[in-house]
Amino acid sequence: MKAKITVTPKKAVLDPQGKAVQNALEQMGYKGLRGVHVGKYLEIEVEGDRETVKAQLEEACRKLLSNPVIEDFHLVLE
Protein backbone atom coordinates (compact mmCIF):
# COMPACT_ATOMS: atom_id res chain seq x y z
CA MET A 1 0.00 0.00 0.00
CA LYS A 2 0.99 3.61 -0.30
CA ALA A 3 1.13 6.22 2.43
CA LYS A 4 0.66 9.82 1.39
CA ILE A 5 1.87 12.33 3.93
CA THR A 6 1.54 16.09 3.78
CA VAL A 7 3.46 18.31 6.17
CA THR A 8 2.47 21.96 6.51
CA PRO A 9 3.69 24.81 8.71
CA LYS A 10 1.48 25.47 11.75
CA LYS A 11 -0.74 28.50 11.33
CA ALA A 12 1.01 30.41 14.12
CA VAL A 13 4.44 29.93 12.54
CA LEU A 14 5.85 32.52 10.18
CA ASP A 15 5.78 31.09 6.63
CA PRO A 16 7.85 33.49 4.52
CA GLN A 17 7.87 31.06 1.61
CA GLY A 18 4.08 30.91 1.53
CA LYS A 19 3.93 34.69 1.76
CA ALA A 20 6.38 35.11 -1.14
CA VAL A 21 4.35 32.71 -3.30
CA GLN A 22 1.15 34.54 -2.39
CA ASN A 23 2.71 37.88 -3.35
CA ALA A 24 3.81 36.46 -6.70
CA LEU A 25 0.34 35.05 -7.38
CA GLU A 26 -1.25 38.40 -6.54
CA GLN A 27 1.19 40.20 -8.83
CA MET A 28 0.10 37.82 -11.59
CA GLY A 29 -3.44 39.04 -11.05
CA TYR A 30 -5.00 36.16 -9.10
CA LYS A 31 -7.67 37.54 -6.79
CA GLY A 32 -9.20 36.47 -3.51
CA LEU A 33 -6.21 34.63 -2.08
CA ARG A 34 -6.70 34.19 1.66
CA GLY A 35 -3.36 32.52 2.39
CA VAL A 36 -0.69 30.30 0.84
CA HIS A 37 1.15 27.70 2.88
CA VAL A 38 4.12 25.82 1.45
CA GLY A 39 4.75 22.39 2.91
CA LYS A 40 6.12 18.98 1.95
CA TYR A 41 4.61 15.90 0.42
CA LEU A 42 5.98 12.40 0.97
CA GLU A 43 4.94 9.07 -0.54
CA ILE A 44 5.98 5.91 1.26
CA GLU A 45 5.42 2.45 -0.21
CA VAL A 46 4.98 -0.02 2.59
CA GLU A 47 3.80 -3.58 3.30
CA GLY A 48 2.17 -5.10 6.38
CA ASP A 49 -0.93 -5.08 8.53
CA ARG A 50 -2.84 -1.87 7.87
CA GLU A 51 -3.37 -0.83 11.49
CA THR A 52 0.24 -1.59 12.46
CA VAL A 53 1.55 0.31 9.45
CA LYS A 54 -0.66 3.29 10.28
CA ALA A 55 0.51 3.36 13.90
CA GLN A 56 4.16 3.08 12.86
CA LEU A 57 3.89 5.81 10.26
CA GLU A 58 2.12 8.15 12.66
CA GLU A 59 4.99 7.67 15.06
CA ALA A 60 7.48 8.31 12.25
CA CYS A 61 5.59 11.49 11.34
CA ARG A 62 5.86 12.77 14.90
CA LYS A 63 9.50 11.75 15.38
CA LEU A 64 11.14 12.48 12.06
CA LEU A 65 8.94 13.40 9.11
CA SER A 66 7.47 16.47 10.79
CA ASN A 67 8.54 18.66 13.71
CA PRO A 68 5.51 19.10 16.01
CA VAL A 69 6.91 22.44 17.24
CA ILE A 70 6.43 24.06 13.84
CA GLU A 71 4.51 21.67 11.60
CA ASP A 72 1.27 19.68 11.30
CA PHE A 73 1.04 16.45 9.32
CA HIS A 74 -1.76 14.59 7.56
CA LEU A 75 -1.42 10.90 6.79
CA VAL A 76 -3.52 8.96 4.28
CA LEU A 77 -3.08 5.22 3.61
CA GLU A 78 -4.18 3.95 0.20
Partner: protein
Amino acid sequence: MNFAVLQFPASNCDQDAIHVLKNVLGHSARLVWHKDQSLGAVDGVIVPGGFSYGDYLRTGAIARFSPIMQAVQQFAANGGLVLGICNGFQILCEAGLLPGALIRNRSLQFRCENVFLKPGSSHTPFTRSIPEGALLRIPIAHGEGCFYADDATLDQIEREDRVLFRYVDAQGNRSEESNPNGSVRNIAGICNTARNVGGMMPHPERASEPILGMADGRWIFESILAELAERQKSRAA
Protein backbone atom coordinates in the same frame (compact mmCIF):
# COMPACT_ATOMS: atom_id res chain seq x y z
CA MET B 1 40.15 20.41 29.35
CA ASN B 2 39.15 17.87 26.73
CA PHE B 3 36.58 18.70 24.09
CA ALA B 4 34.81 16.65 21.47
CA VAL B 5 33.77 18.48 18.30
CA LEU B 6 31.21 16.43 16.38
CA GLN B 7 31.58 15.95 12.66
CA PHE B 8 28.66 15.10 10.37
CA PRO B 9 28.66 14.86 6.59
CA ALA B 10 28.68 18.56 5.57
CA SER B 11 29.70 19.99 8.94
CA ASN B 12 31.55 23.27 8.70
CA CYS B 13 33.65 25.32 11.10
CA ASP B 14 34.36 22.06 12.94
CA GLN B 15 38.07 22.66 12.31
CA ASP B 16 37.68 26.29 13.37
CA ALA B 17 36.26 25.13 16.71
CA ILE B 18 39.17 22.71 17.14
CA HIS B 19 41.60 25.50 16.24
CA VAL B 20 40.17 27.91 18.82
CA LEU B 21 40.09 25.33 21.60
CA LYS B 22 43.56 23.98 20.87
CA ASN B 23 45.66 26.73 19.38
CA VAL B 24 44.04 29.86 20.74
CA LEU B 25 43.04 28.62 24.19
CA GLY B 26 45.56 25.82 24.71
CA HIS B 27 43.19 22.96 25.51
CA SER B 28 42.68 19.59 23.94
CA ALA B 29 40.01 18.99 21.29
CA ARG B 30 39.35 16.27 18.76
CA LEU B 31 36.83 15.51 16.05
CA VAL B 32 34.30 12.77 16.74
CA TRP B 33 32.65 11.22 13.68
CA HIS B 34 28.84 11.05 13.61
CA LYS B 35 28.87 7.26 13.33
CA ASP B 36 30.90 6.84 16.52
CA GLN B 37 28.96 5.49 19.47
CA SER B 38 31.01 7.13 22.19
CA LEU B 39 32.38 10.59 22.99
CA GLY B 40 35.23 9.19 25.05
CA ALA B 41 36.35 10.96 28.20
CA VAL B 42 35.47 14.59 27.49
CA ASP B 43 34.61 17.65 29.56
CA GLY B 44 32.59 19.42 26.88
CA VAL B 45 30.99 18.86 23.49
CA ILE B 46 30.69 21.30 20.57
CA VAL B 47 28.10 20.56 17.90
CA PRO B 48 29.37 22.65 14.99
CA GLY B 49 27.72 24.44 12.10
CA GLY B 50 27.14 23.28 8.57
CA PHE B 51 24.48 21.54 6.58
CA SER B 52 24.45 18.08 8.11
CA TYR B 53 22.90 15.48 5.81
CA GLY B 54 22.29 18.23 3.26
CA ASP B 55 19.62 19.80 5.50
CA TYR B 56 17.28 17.17 4.01
CA LEU B 57 13.74 17.16 5.44
CA ARG B 58 14.54 19.92 7.95
CA THR B 59 17.81 21.36 9.24
CA GLY B 60 19.23 18.99 11.85
CA ALA B 61 16.34 16.52 11.52
CA ILE B 62 18.39 13.58 10.32
CA ALA B 63 21.59 14.37 12.23
CA ARG B 64 19.77 14.05 15.54
CA PHE B 65 19.31 10.31 14.91
CA SER B 66 23.00 9.65 14.20
CA PRO B 67 24.72 7.26 16.64
CA ILE B 68 26.88 9.94 18.24
CA MET B 69 23.79 11.97 19.18
CA GLN B 70 22.65 9.15 21.46
CA ALA B 71 25.95 9.59 23.32
CA VAL B 72 25.41 13.36 23.43
CA GLN B 73 21.90 12.84 24.89
CA GLN B 74 23.43 10.72 27.63
CA PHE B 75 26.28 13.16 28.22
CA ALA B 76 23.80 16.04 28.52
CA ALA B 77 21.50 14.03 30.82
CA ASN B 78 24.47 13.57 33.14
CA GLY B 79 25.05 17.33 33.25
CA GLY B 80 27.81 17.52 30.61
CA LEU B 81 28.31 20.86 28.84
CA VAL B 82 27.12 20.93 25.24
CA LEU B 83 27.19 23.96 22.93
CA GLY B 84 25.50 23.86 19.54
CA ILE B 85 26.56 26.49 17.02
CA CYS B 86 24.39 27.31 13.97
CA ASN B 87 23.49 23.90 12.52
CA GLY B 88 24.50 22.51 15.92
CA PHE B 89 21.77 24.67 17.51
CA GLN B 90 19.28 23.33 14.95
CA ILE B 91 20.32 19.75 15.73
CA LEU B 92 19.95 20.25 19.50
CA CYS B 93 16.44 21.68 19.00
CA GLU B 94 15.46 18.77 16.76
CA ALA B 95 16.87 16.38 19.38
CA GLY B 96 14.66 17.95 22.03
CA LEU B 97 17.69 19.01 24.09
CA LEU B 98 16.62 22.63 23.55
CA PRO B 99 13.09 23.96 23.10
CA GLY B 100 11.78 25.59 19.92
CA ALA B 101 12.92 25.27 16.34
CA LEU B 102 14.88 27.19 13.71
CA ILE B 103 12.96 27.99 10.55
CA ARG B 104 13.59 29.78 7.27
CA ASN B 105 14.79 33.38 7.62
CA ARG B 106 11.99 35.90 7.34
CA SER B 107 13.72 37.43 4.29
CA LEU B 108 14.08 34.00 2.62
CA GLN B 109 17.71 35.01 2.09
CA PHE B 110 20.85 33.37 3.35
CA ARG B 111 22.34 35.98 5.69
CA CYS B 112 26.10 36.16 6.01
CA GLU B 113 27.18 39.21 8.00
CA ASN B 114 28.44 40.45 11.35
CA VAL B 115 25.83 41.09 14.01
CA PHE B 116 25.80 42.61 17.49
CA LEU B 117 24.73 40.37 20.35
CA LYS B 118 23.60 41.40 23.79
CA PRO B 119 23.99 38.73 26.46
CA GLY B 120 20.62 37.86 27.97
CA SER B 121 21.78 36.09 31.10
CA SER B 122 25.15 36.12 32.79
CA HIS B 123 24.21 33.06 34.85
CA THR B 124 24.99 30.40 32.26
CA PRO B 125 28.12 28.36 31.51
CA PHE B 126 28.17 29.98 28.06
CA THR B 127 28.04 33.65 29.09
CA ARG B 128 29.42 33.85 32.63
CA SER B 129 32.80 35.39 31.73
CA ILE B 130 31.46 38.08 29.41
CA PRO B 131 32.22 41.52 30.91
CA GLU B 132 29.10 43.21 32.21
CA GLY B 133 27.47 45.49 29.68
CA ALA B 134 29.55 44.20 26.76
CA LEU B 135 28.09 43.74 23.29
CA LEU B 136 29.60 40.97 21.18
CA ARG B 137 30.39 41.40 17.48
CA ILE B 138 30.12 37.95 15.89
CA PRO B 139 29.26 36.72 12.39
CA ILE B 140 26.17 34.81 11.34
CA ALA B 141 25.88 32.63 8.21
CA HIS B 142 22.55 30.88 7.83
CA GLY B 143 19.39 30.51 5.80
CA GLU B 144 17.36 28.93 8.57
CA GLY B 145 18.12 30.85 11.72
CA CYS B 146 14.72 32.24 12.61
CA PHE B 147 14.13 30.99 16.15
CA TYR B 148 10.53 30.03 16.84
CA ALA B 149 8.79 28.80 19.97
CA ASP B 150 5.23 29.34 21.16
CA ASP B 151 4.51 32.14 23.65
CA ALA B 152 4.24 29.81 26.65
CA THR B 153 7.70 28.37 25.90
CA LEU B 154 9.19 31.82 25.32
CA ASP B 155 7.72 33.13 28.57
CA GLN B 156 9.23 30.17 30.40
CA ILE B 157 12.65 30.72 28.76
CA GLU B 158 12.60 34.37 29.82
CA ARG B 159 11.23 33.67 33.30
CA GLU B 160 14.04 31.17 33.87
CA ASP B 161 16.64 33.64 32.55
CA ARG B 162 17.74 31.29 29.77
CA VAL B 163 18.29 33.66 26.85
CA LEU B 164 21.99 33.52 26.00
CA PHE B 165 21.96 36.29 23.39
CA ARG B 166 19.68 38.69 21.57
CA TYR B 167 20.30 40.43 18.24
CA VAL B 168 20.70 44.16 18.88
CA ASP B 169 22.01 47.25 17.09
CA ALA B 170 25.42 48.84 17.72
CA GLN B 171 23.97 50.73 20.69
CA GLY B 172 22.59 47.57 22.25
CA ASN B 173 18.95 48.26 21.44
CA ARG B 174 16.61 45.51 20.36
CA SER B 175 14.92 46.43 17.10
CA GLU B 176 13.37 44.92 13.99
CA GLU B 177 16.27 46.21 11.89
CA SER B 178 18.85 44.48 14.08
CA ASN B 179 17.03 41.16 13.81
CA PRO B 180 18.65 39.44 10.80
CA ASN B 181 16.28 36.51 10.48
CA GLY B 182 12.97 37.26 12.17
CA SER B 183 13.68 35.32 15.38
CA VAL B 184 10.97 35.74 18.00
CA ARG B 185 11.94 38.33 20.64
CA ASN B 186 15.28 38.76 18.77
CA ILE B 187 16.59 35.56 20.34
CA ALA B 188 19.97 34.42 18.98
CA GLY B 189 20.72 31.73 21.56
CA ILE B 190 19.23 29.93 24.54
CA CYS B 191 20.07 27.27 27.10
CA ASN B 192 18.02 24.47 28.63
CA THR B 193 16.40 24.50 32.07
CA ALA B 194 19.34 22.61 33.58
CA ARG B 195 21.63 25.26 31.98
CA ASN B 196 24.18 22.72 30.68
CA VAL B 197 23.04 22.67 27.03
CA GLY B 198 23.28 25.85 24.96
CA GLY B 199 22.61 26.74 21.35
CA MET B 200 23.30 29.86 19.28
CA MET B 201 23.06 30.77 15.60
CA PRO B 202 26.09 33.13 15.44
CA HIS B 203 29.57 31.63 15.03
CA PRO B 204 31.90 32.46 17.96
CA GLU B 205 34.61 30.14 16.59
CA ARG B 206 34.94 32.43 13.56
CA ALA B 207 35.60 35.43 15.77
CA SER B 208 37.94 34.40 18.54
CA GLU B 209 41.27 36.00 17.69
CA PRO B 210 42.36 39.51 16.68
CA ILE B 211 43.93 38.37 13.40
CA LEU B 212 40.42 37.56 12.17
CA GLY B 213 39.27 41.08 12.93
CA MET B 214 36.98 40.04 15.75
CA ALA B 215 37.75 38.30 19.03
CA ASP B 216 34.49 38.60 20.99
CA GLY B 217 33.60 34.96 20.36
CA ARG B 218 36.42 34.03 22.68
CA TRP B 219 34.30 35.12 25.68
CA ILE B 220 31.95 32.23 25.05
CA PHE B 221 34.75 29.66 25.08
CA GLU B 222 36.30 31.40 28.11
CA SER B 223 32.95 31.10 29.87
CA ILE B 224 32.78 27.36 29.18
CA LEU B 225 36.35 26.93 30.43
CA ALA B 226 35.64 28.92 33.60
CA GLU B 227 32.59 26.75 34.28
CA LEU B 228 34.55 23.53 33.72
CA ALA B 229 37.41 24.75 35.94
CA GLU B 230 34.93 25.53 38.71
CA ARG B 231 33.31 22.12 38.36
CA GLN B 232 36.72 20.45 38.51
CA LYS B 233 37.61 22.41 41.63
CA SER B 234 34.38 21.56 43.41
CA ARG B 235 34.84 17.87 42.51
CA ALA B 236 38.35 17.90 43.97
CA ALA B 237 37.23 19.67 47.14
